[in-house]
């Protein structure tokens, strides 16, 4: 293991932790959204460092880009600027969080160490993907061949989820929703029910 690699890793992780705590403490919504964008970008840099280049690409485009855009659009639509009744510290949730964190930390103690090639997660099916997939699919990028070929149904399921979410957003925010509330008057004072009939 290279000490410089470990130092970069620790530095990026500490930066992410600092940004996360800044998000917890901030009550200005614009700052919260911008910090979450920074958080995603830091995550993307960390993924490059951990050699997950495809994931970094997606995180930078989708996590830092599209997500932040969606949050900003929501801020614009709801006209929310600050969090009301901001309480940075609340005792009962803090106790729950610290207790859960302590238990999870205890659970990590017998985990295989970071970067261990003998870890169970890196055995089983992974060596087969690494050795056979360039020959079997003809693609040098193993992530692509696993995504589109070996686990193609996974990706199909992902597309179904995105489609469902898209339909859901359209149903919730689409133009047709006013018809679902008969008897309610719109901005002109016209009864929508009559207007439709």
């Amino acid at each position: 293991m290279n000490p410089a690699d470990i130092l970069i890793d620790i530095f990026l992780l500490l930066l992410m932790a600092a940004v996360a705590i800044a998000i917890v403490r901030s009550h200005l919504m614009f700052a919260v959204v911008m910090l979450s964008g920074i958080f995603s970008l830091l995550a993307a840099v960390l993924y490059v460092h951990l050699t997950a280049v495809d994931v970094a690409f997606t995180e930078a485009a989708v996590g830092a880009g599209v997500s932040t855009l969606l949050f900003l659009a929501t801020l614009a639509l709801t006209h929310v600027n600050v969090e009301e009744k901001h309480k940075p510290v609340r005792v009962v949730p803090l106790v729950i969080v610290v207790a859960t964190g302590a238990m999870l930390t205890w659970g990590t103690l017998d985990m295989p160490h970071y970067g261990d090639p003998e870890a169970p997660a890196n055995k089983h099916v992974a060596p087969r993907y690494i050795q056979e997939s360039p020959k079997e699919t003809g693609l040098p990028n193993m992530v692509t061949s696993v995504l589109a070929s070996y686990r193609g149904y996974d990706t199909l399921g992902e597309v179904v989820v995105i489609f469902t979410a898209g339909v859901g957003v359209l149903v919730i925010l689409g133009r047709g929703r006013r018809r679902w509330r008969p008897g309610v008057k719109d901005e002109d004072g016209d009864n929508l029910e009559e207007e439709r009939a």
Partner: protein, 123 residues
């Protein structure tokens, strides 16, 4: 010292996860709750990607002169999870916009008060 370096990634993941969890359970603003959820998600992603990393390994793209690669499977799973995460975020934010129109607020405690006292605001 070796244990600390070997487990440091997981510990920071837990810190991030708990920061997101705290926002979701302790803070009232719904947009902030969604930010908390996405922090929680990124924590899980970092956990998976940390486990897939192998010392001395390179990115899982076959090339001459490299024999040791990171595990590609967690990368694929997280690639899927990132996109699904954004889809759920979009749905949640759409619901928040609707809630704002209906209740006039997106603070969880105020909405709970309204429901308890049978008040109808907004609409």
């Amino acid at each position: 010292m070796e244990t600390v370096i070997g487990l440091f990634n997981y510990w920071i993941v837990i810190v991030l996860m708990m920061a997101g969890f705290y926002i979701v359970i302790a803070q009232e603003n719904m947009i902030k709750k969604m930010v908390g959820l996405s922090i929680f998600q990124v924590a899980v992603f970092v956990f998976y990607i940390s486990m897939s990393n192998v010392f001395g390994g390179t990115a899982p793209i076959a090339a001459e002169g490299f024999t040791r690669y990171s595990n590609p499977l967690p990368h694929v799973l997280i690639l899927t999870a990132i996109v699904v995460g954004v889809a759920t975020t979009a749905l949640g934010l759409a619901l928040i916009v609707r809630i704002k129109e209906e209740f006039g607020t997106i603070e969880d405690d105020q909405i709970r008060d309204m429901e308890e006292h049978g008040e109808e605001s907004g609409a």
